[in-house]
Amino acid sequence: MNVEIAALTRRFGRTQAVAGVDLEAGPGVFGLLGPNGAGKTTLLRMLATVIPPSSGRLRLLGRDPGGYGGRRQIRRRLGYLPQNLGYYPGFTVAEFVEYFALLKEMPPGRVPGAVAAAVERVDLGDKARAKLRTLSGGMLRRAGIAQAIVNEPDLLLLDEPTAGLDPEQRVAFRALLRDLGQEATVVVSTHLVEDVGAACTEVALMDAGRIVFHGTPAELTARAEGTDAAGDAPLERGYSAVLAAARATGGVRA
């Protein structure tokens, strides 16, 4: 298992952002759904080793990120796209991706090829020499994805990766996710349930810091059967049904 989580919590002062999450994930695309404030981003930041958990057990890629040595090993094999992508406006796309390849301690000899491949995979090959400040929001998002995948990570964490992408790019991105998920564990946090339905092999639904559903997209869709849950698509109705049930039962995991 690339991700092993048990009773994981995270507090920010009096706010309990993640309230006891148990999760295991191996290779494949793992969708993380939930309403705003459910704790998805906090969970992803803990998985990305940006912040430590307040309590609970966390193992990533078979290592404990609590120690510096283990954390450094994990980070070399990690890719992360934060929800709010910061960037250096004066860098070109290629420089931005190369910069993070080097910070991820890729062997320098492999960096140029990896950068070119990552930039091509997000369809920014013709913009490789363009400054980031000249890119549209969608292109910036793709540049962010390129830096996340440049080291061919074994654990890829994507927070709202399709935000700002046009439909064509979103379809292409789902294909990329499926490809990446063949060997790596890809955790995708999103509001867009159609992304989950199209690309994810597993899905978890978070609400109020807890996982209230864990299963396949088909199982989530099935939760809507026999209910009058709102939604335009079957998966959306499943999502609504699980949330409604969880809130009715006080957040007990389904």
Partner: protein, 532 residues
């Protein structure tokens, strides 16, 4: 996005240890995209205004020009560089990069050092390019000797330390106002150093703009080697400051692992020790005739004068200058000629005027220093002439006349006093911009008054007497009485008559009388009435 065309995923690979080429590539990217690049044109303009143009307004002396690279340039550049450093350091915070940077494997400290190094490399490159141009032009202008590198080293260390301090401030307080605040703070620190050094605070000698304490420029690097003692202490201090600022960044919890934070702690501690050592060393600096000496750093070989062959004028009494002042020999010779022609060939007249270093140093209560003027001594007599209190032509808009007027009275006064046998506090006084003034004790003897009348007459025919302002109490010939001598009596009619008679003599007759009567005049045996 092209999953189908993506290259095949390689087999699981063994991770190698980080290669040293990684930081080099990181630095290359930072060099290409450093914010300092945008500032280079502004820095170049400021360097031109603060250092190059003032340097070119001064005569081509290596010591004057190099001092401007340390003091003038840094006063203007260092605050701006600190601001640029703060802007670079606050980059991750301003750009919302904390999460993305915070999850990379490389120690955060390494990335920060790369960004600082890139900014510093560009700033140093510009500074050194400016130094190269300034020194190249100075060499082309035929400056004597060679360039002085210690002021450049202090300037370069100030550049690195300013950026490091700003960078640390920007990293710890990543706001958009941090850059401006850092610039103001560094400027105030430099300005505060100026006040501290004027207040006689010994440790303030470490102030990076302090070149050689309150020394005139010809006291170092021309007659004597440039003493690097203070500069070494300053470089140690500045390197320490930079190490503290950068090391402190590595102490932060997210900077890296235990080993790296230990290294950062060692760097910080070494920086503190260095900064403290530099300051302590500066506190032991003392003013010597050749510059600031710090005993622990001093090389006694630096106390030996720089050997040189003087450049001399031709004439009865040659004027010899240090070759760095070759350009001024015609002006100095012309300025001294009238007085020297009056005394040439007379017994007791000087055989040569020799320029010497301004070495008679005394600290005065206001932490300034005073310097002796021209001195006539030895047998045969020589005039030892320091250019003390004199501003060279071309320095700060000084004209040749501004330089030669005080110079010739500074030389003529002791020469004429010695010639007629007057003690220094009794006779003519030179060095003022208006020429020689005539002194004398309140109740002078006949012999002294005769000596004074003859000396004043010689000064008059040489065109060196200061004219008397209307209503001033005067000595012979209308020369001004020194203001300090409140009790001095005005020149008497007899005294004035003798002075006028002697000054009116033909030069040959005056010379012949002096040849015959100089010994008696010196002995005080000549009365006013005996003066032809």
């Amino acid at each position: 996005m092209t999953a189908a065309t993506a290259p095949a995923r390689p087999a699981p690979r063994a991770r190698a240890l980080p290669s040293p080429a990684g930081p080099a590539r990181l630095l290359r990217i930072e060099l290409r995209r450093s914010a300092m690049l945008w500032l280079l044109p502004l820095l170049a303009v400021l360097f031109y205004i603060s250092a190059y143009r003032p340097a070119m307004d001064n005569p081509p002396f290596w010591n004057i020009r190099s001092a401007m690279l340390q003091s003038h340039a840094m006063l203007v550049l260092a605050p701006l560089l600190a601001g640029a450093g703060a802007w670079t350091g606050s980059r991750d915070g301003r750009r919302g990069m904390a999460d993305l940077i915070g999850m990379t494997a490389a120690p955060r400290w390494a990335g920060q050092l790369a960004a600082w190094a890139a900014a510093t490399i560009w700033a140093e490159a510009l500074y050194l390019a400016g130094v190269a141009v300034l020194y190249g032009v100075t060499a082309d202008q035929g400056a004597w000797g060679g360039p002085l590198w210690w002021p450049v080293a202090v300037g370069a260390a100030t550049v690195a330390a300013s950026i490091a301090l700003g960078f640390a401030a920007g990293t710890c307080l990543p706001g958009r106002f941090t850059a401006g605040l850092a610039a103001v703070a560094v400027f105030l620190a430099l300005a505060g150093g100026a006040f501290a050094i004027q207040d006689n605070a010994v440790y303030a000698q470490i102030w990076p703009l302090n070149v050689q304490g309150p020394f005139p420029s010809d006291s170092y690097g021309i007659f004597y080697p440039y003493l690097p003692d203070l500069a070494i202490a300053q470089v140690i201090f500045l390197a320490g400051l930079a190490a503290v600022a950068l090391g402190a960044l590595g102490l932060r919890a997210r900077a890296g692992g235990r080993w790296l934070r230990g290294a950062a702690a060692a760097v910080t501690a070494a920086g503190l020790v260095a900064a403290g050592t530099g300051t302590a060393l500066a506190g032991t600096a003392r003013l010597t005739p050749h510059g600031m000496v710090i005993r622990a750093l001093h090389d006694a070989a630096s106390d030996r004068p720089v050997p040189y062959t003087p450049v001399c004028s031709r004439g009865g009494i040659p004027v010899c200058l240090q070759p760095a002042y070759r350009a001024y020999l015609p002006a100095v010779t012309a300025a001294l000629a009238p007085a020297l022609e009056e005394v040439a060939g007379l017994p007791g007249a000087p055989v040569r005027i020799t320029q010497v270093a301004v070495t008679s140093v005394q600290k005065d209560p206001s932490n300034g220093i005073s310097f002796g003027g021209a001195v006539l001594s030895g047998s045969p007599p020589l005039v030892y002439l320091p250019f003390s209190g004199l501003t060279l032509p071309g320095e700060g808009g000084t004209t040749t006349a501004d330089f030669t007027l005080p110079l010739r009275s500074q030389v003529a006064a002791p020469v004429l006093n010695a010639l007629v046998g007057l003690a220094g506090n009794q006779g003519l006084r030179g060095g003022g911009p208006q020429g020689i003034v005539v002194g004398g004790p309140p109740q002078s003897s006949q012999g002294t008054m005769a000596q004074l009348a003859v000396a004043a007459a010689l000064a008059k025919v040489a065109g060196l007497l200061s004219p008397a302002p209307p209503g001033a109490r005067t000595r012979p010939g209308g020369a001004v009485l020194p203001g300090a001598r409140g009790g001095a009596s005005p020149g008497t009619g007899t005294e004035r008559a003798a002075f006028q008679r002697f000054a009116a003599l033909p030069a040959a007759a005056r010379h012949a009388w002096l040849v015959t009567h100089l010994a008696s005049l010196r002995a005080g045996r000549i009365t006013l009435s005996e003066i032809p």
